[in-house]
Amino acid sequence: MTPPIISLRHVTKSYATGAPGRGSANVALDAVELDIPRGDIFGIIGASGAGKSTLVRLINLLERPDSGAIRVNGRDSGTVTGGELLKLRREIGMVFQHFNLLSARTVAENVAFPLRLAGVRDKTQIAARVSELLGRVGLSDHASKYPRQLSGGQKQRVGIARALACRPPILLCDEATSALDPETTRSVLGLLRELNRELGLTVVLITHEMDVVRQICHRVAVLDHGRIAETGAVEDVFLHPRHPATRVLVREAFGETLVHDRLGASGHVVRLTFLGAATYSPILSHLAREQGVEFTLLGGKLGTIRDEPFAQLNVAFTGGDQRAALARLKAAGISVETLTEPAGGIPQQPLREFADVV
């Protein structure tokens, strides 16, 4: 396995609060351990004030940690200085929430800006690169416009083109879609996914919205009060959140889905999670027919993670051979969590009236 392109070991960063010299320190990041695999779309999610932007500023070397080690693209960023530092910063393209474009420069000049900072002088070389980049982000017709003449989504595309100008292996996006409407967000995320696929770019997506993570990320780390609360594949973290902070973020994205107490918690209530092809299988009706288990839908969510469909349903079972039903669900690769067990244990024999029906 290739080593991670970004890794943080026990990284701590605090800011002084109150009067200089006195006052307590505000711990923005606390002993953060993080590995970002090369070629991933990696989400870092957390509520406002969780320390996301601080993490970004440490990764792109705008600030130094109080303690701990940060490796970026094979180099220990704690030891680089001077020109090496500037070079390492160029290996990380940055995309910002508020675009941070030069308002006095045209779109083409904005995209050329990092090249000029990097000391590229050749005008034809710059022009060729700029037109290639503008083509890639779909703004070829807007090269000579000024940023204020563009929509938010177009501005962010300029921001992305600019970030890619020096061909960095890493693209770091801090709330890159937070100022955009849902439709524009989708199209910008689509562009990021395309860049990840076609250029092998590692994309680090910082956001406070689980929905953004759900749409394109492979893996995600949840940041809570400066600590990594949990990290894992998006499917796992999104569908089976363990940390309370993660649950809050998932709920924000999908609303409350647990309504099972309305039907009396005394029954047999399970949460079934279908992922991928299993989502389309008519297994519940099979259970009703073949195991005699009746089911009531109590709530749930349906959607996609990246392009993969999922369904997570809270279901109350009554009657039939529920044990066999559970075994059958598990065998079909459906995750089953028991929310409430019936008082007398899980029924095995079909009840009389169901036997009559069958």
Partner: protein, 219 residues
């Protein structure tokens, strides 16, 4: 009152003198004030070259210069002026005190204009691997250009005011005429013409400045 008595040639020369004082003083004010303003900005709290002591020291000196009334500055600086230009009279003699009088003011305007630049632009430039010099010349100054041009305009208008005042101590120009003829010899018509000329000059400067600011504003 009779406008026939007015020596238009003399007024023409006086107007040229005023323009020369204005142009020369504005040139040197921008020459010294711009770098000072940039330094002031960069050494300020939370900025690229944060240097508390430098900022405080510079700030203190600029404040002193700004608090001395211009007419006092004119008199106090006479020996220095003679040393630099060889005279304390005429256009050349008046430019040094004019520059001293407005440089501090202009430096503050530059600092303010730079502070108006979106912080994100500096962050972005740093993240792209820009050096402090590159950030100043390629990002900060171009972004702050409209604000700086507005500052130049205000400074030019203050200079018109000061050139008129410097007439009192032999600086020449329109202000000098106004005082010598209009005030000391009671030729009210000269006073009226000179004041009108000054009004027109200020209006033109403001209109021109506005157009420039407009031209470079892309926000």
């Amino acid at each position: 009152m009779s406008f026939d008595r007015i020596d238009w040639v003399q007024i023409g020369y006086a107007a040229l003198d005023t323009l020369a004082m204005l142009g020369g003083a504005l040139f040197f004010t921008v020459l010294f004030g711009l770098p000072l303003g940039v330094l002031l900005f960069l050494t300020g709290r939370g900025q690229l070259l944060q240097q508390g002591a430098v900022y405080a020291g510079l700030s203190f000196v600029l404040n002193i210069l700004r608090s001395v009334p211009f007419i006092i500055l004119l008199i106090v600086l006479m020996p220095v002026t003679t040393l630099i230009t060889g005279t304390s009279l005429g256009v050349r003699g008046v430019i040094p005190p004019l520059v001293v009088g407005t440089t501090a003011f202009f430096a503050r305007l530059v600092e303010t204009a730079l502070r108006e630049v979106d912080r994100g632009v500096i962050d972005a430039s740093r993240a792209m691997g820009g050096t402090t010099g590159q950030i100043v010349f390629h990002a900060l100054l171009p972004e702050a250009l409209p604000g700086i041009l507005a500052g130049v305009t205000v400074t030019a208008i203050v200079l018109v005011d000061y050139t008129a005042m410097s007439g009192a101590i032999g600086g020449g120009g329109i202000g000098d005429l106004a005082i010598r003829y209009g005030y000391q010899r009671f030729q009210t018509e000269v006073m009226i013409v000179t004041v009108l000329l000054l009004v027109i000059l200020v209006q033109l400067l403001q209109a021109g400045g506005n157009r420039l600011v407009q031209h470079f504003s892309r926000k």
